[in-house]
Symmetry: C2
């Protein structure tokens, strides 16, 4: 059986690798780690990989807006979503002790999720790095015991580093939502594809966004997310990314889409997929 090739942003051990294993459980995977998000989209477009797995939002930090822009520009097909619980750890070289660490490197989103830890530990300065997993690699490639990283336990294990303090994130309700992206010709994932992501640009009329949302509200279709992004070259105008709990294969939703097309100047379906369970919940 040939391996399934998956591109993601970050070095080995990144949370995106964990998401890939979760979303493609049971398959034998080979990974193409990319330094930048757009590279993962390009490897997918060019056929170098079968899938890309990218984060789209974190429950503390908000959306990964760059990836929304890439969804529109590269137009992959969203095949599935998953939620990964984010646990950050202070990680050091195997010989390092807690008191030696004076700098901790990681992706800015990870650092922003450990603000309380850095406030409580003013002797450790937070410094940005391109990736969580990559920050552990950098620590292990060097020989400086005062340099630490903030990353997953999987990254510590992958690079043979030591977990110095576990679960240093501010908030345990810390989840990241990932998309599995394929090409249009990719085989559809199994499951009940009753959630749909779409993007549109409103017509330049009064109450435009309200009219767009009425296409769903009038048909009792729930929105689970709305995200706005600026339109380049049109200052202070926006496109909107919306997730709905419906599939265009259902008549009610198909009618909503036809209605939405009337009140938008651009409309595209990015994919339909089975909704991941919302973790925790009250």
């Amino acid at each position: 059986m040939s391996r399934t090739r998956v591109a993601f942003q970050g070095a080995r051990g990144a949370f995106s690798e964990q998401a890939s294993k979760q979303i493609l459980a049971g398959r034998e995977l080979s990974f193409e780690p990319c330094e930048k998000f757009f590279e993962a989209f390009e490897l997918l477009r060019d056929g170098t990989v079968d899938y890309a797995v990218i984060p789209v939002e974190n429950t503390l930090h908000g959306s990964v807006h760059e990836n929304y822009d890439h969804l529109l520009n590269y137009r992959p097909e969203i095949l599935a979503e998953t939620h990964v619980r984010i646990v950050h750890n202070l990680i050091g070289r195997p010989e390092a002790s807690r008191s030696q660490i004076t700098r901790a490197i990681s992706h800015p989103v990870a650092l922003a999720q450990c603000l309380d830890f850095f406030r409580r530990n003013p002797g450790i300065s937070a410094e940005t790095h391109y990736d969580t997993g990559g920050s552990v690699k950098t620590v292990m490639d060097g020989d400086d015991p005062s340099l630490g990283a903030v990353a997953s336990a999987a990254a510590a294990e992958y690079y043979g580093a030591k977990i110095i303090e576990t679960s240093i994130e501010d908030d345990p309700e810390n989840f990241t939502r990932f998309f599995l992206l394929g090409r249009e010709s990719s085989p559809a994932e199994s499951g009940d594809a009753r959630k749909t992501s779409l993007v549109f640009i409103t017509k330049n009329v009064s109450g435009a966004l309200f009219k767009c949302m009425s296409a769903f509200a009038l048909r009792d279709i729930n929105l689970t997310k709305i995200e706005s992004r600026p339109l380049k070259g049109r200052p202070f105008e926006y496109c909107f990314y919306v997730d709905i709990l419906a599939s265009p294969r259902e008549e009610n939703c198909a009618n909503a889409m036809a209605h939405l097309a009337e009140v938008t100047e651009f409309l595209a379906v990015l994919g339909s997929y089975e909704p991941a369970s919302v973790p925790g919940g009250n």
Copy 2:
């Protein structure tokens, strides 16, 4: 006459300083540059400064989401808005020549706005720094002619550095919107305060956001912006920041606010102010 004290994020010469001069034209200003955005909010809250000037969105990069979170947490009063045209320059030490520059440091947003320049110039690597103005300061504090910065002409002038290439931004339609923030007791800015920013959390009912927006749409009040941010501790729930072209001092808008209060679990007005003109246009 005592100087008006203004806090902003960034070093001297940052675009926020330019915005401060634009929005408080005619006053004698003294500046409190801050490394982090939250520090500017704290200086304002504590009474150390009279105002804070902070960016909230850029027409290419999108919203400065962190500052939306701070608007909710620190609850300053939005007194005015302004738009600043962003022109980025490659800046070096006075003795540096174009061919010597191999690294250019700047704020990640600035670097993201010059992607074409860095693609055309693969011999110059982009590296993140906490601030545009501060990157020029770093270049001038050192003695490395191969280190450049990406920043405003004002920053080059302030630090005595040399502009090596001007206007290296990808897109000339590049504007940043700034808020002038004061305390509740701050004297209102003059002008026609007919734009209002507010934040709300919807009730957990079906079609909740649509119902909120209907409060405005049914009264012909235009939305100019909607932004969603995650609610901490409530995974995949959001609060919404909305700008409307209306003032709660008008009866129609006051009615809309009363209607909105019925369908929200939290609602706050962040400020009313005179709308800045939209630059350029079509």
